[in-house]
Amino acid sequence: MLTTNIESILFAAAKPISLDQLKKYFDTSAETIAEAVEDIRTRYNRGTSGIHLLEQEGKVQFVTNPDASEDVTSFLKKDATSLLTKPSLETLTVIAYRGPVTRPELEQIRGVNCGIILRNLLIRGFIEETQDRVRLQPVYSVSIDFMRKLGLTHLEELPEYESFHTNASIDELLKTTPEEPVV
């Protein structure tokens, strides 16, 4: 019943819905919501389904099947997206694999000030900035819009995602960022 109602809400809402919002609305545990969403995903994210469930940073949304992209694009006459510059691409890669990531961490990996590029990516809607209450600074993750552009319903679909997302030696290297972020 809960699963069915969540499924209906996701269909009717036509926008990303946060799991937290669902949890509050149904007054239940995060685990129960996660189970329901997992059930929906299992039923939808398969080749024969025209609709897939996309999840990113605690938000879910129904999207089209990746294999249908070409037809959907031409039928709906959607514009093709512009190309990414190399620095944009690098930054997005780090954010996708390591997100939510802080600016110093990002700069430690890229070895260069990323202020301008972060701002540009925020303006283009490819990344999102949220305040990390533990780290007391903004963190960046790729947006649902960017995932849609990549045709991904989950970041885990990226090659070697797990090994780069939770990587002890990268964690170690990132810890050695003593300097204050360049302002």
Partner: protein, 230 residues
Amino acid sequence: MFEIQSEQFTGPLELLLELIEAESLSISEVSLAHVTESYLEHIEKNEPPPDELADFLIVATRLLLIKSRLLLPDPIVEDEDTSDLAAQLKMYKAFVELSAHLEKQFNAKVELFPREKPEAIKILELVIPEGVSTTSLRESFAKMLKNLEPFFNLKQVALERVVSVKERFDEIRNAIMERARFTFRDIVGTGRSKVDTVISFLALLELVKQRVVHVAQSDAFHDIDIHRVD
């Protein structure tokens, strides 16, 4: 304009990676020391934009430190930071390699589409007038049907008439085949209605048109003589 340029500018790690890969070396302190001079030369020739200059210079000092340590066989200061550059560069390289996949995905036009918000057409709420009940709805529907009755009847009459003309047509034709001639009054008789007379007349006209019969009338309102056309 400046921002676009600075975004396009090669970062220090990217430059280092290019230099090392140009010499087909693997990333190590030795290879870093090896490319130190080319690195310094490069930033001198192509001055990095001001907001990235510091990053380039930090890497330059780290390179020089690595090089000096290799030149001095017995390093006095054991600084962690010197070895970090190689590790950092390896990490950077790994992400650059991963970015190739992202780029491929991005350019592959595999975009996923969400349901779009419908256009903001605000339909007025359905307001049911006071006093409306199922009974009153039924009553008004019955009333409407009653108003339509004459119309339905009209159609019914028209249908009957069409059928009658066809029947009368056959009657007259059969009659003329048997008798060769008779008059319109023979058909209509005396007791028939006005409508019936009209139907007979229409049937007769049709027979004339089809050249089955020939008709003659001596004067207005006189009887019509009907002859068979042989």
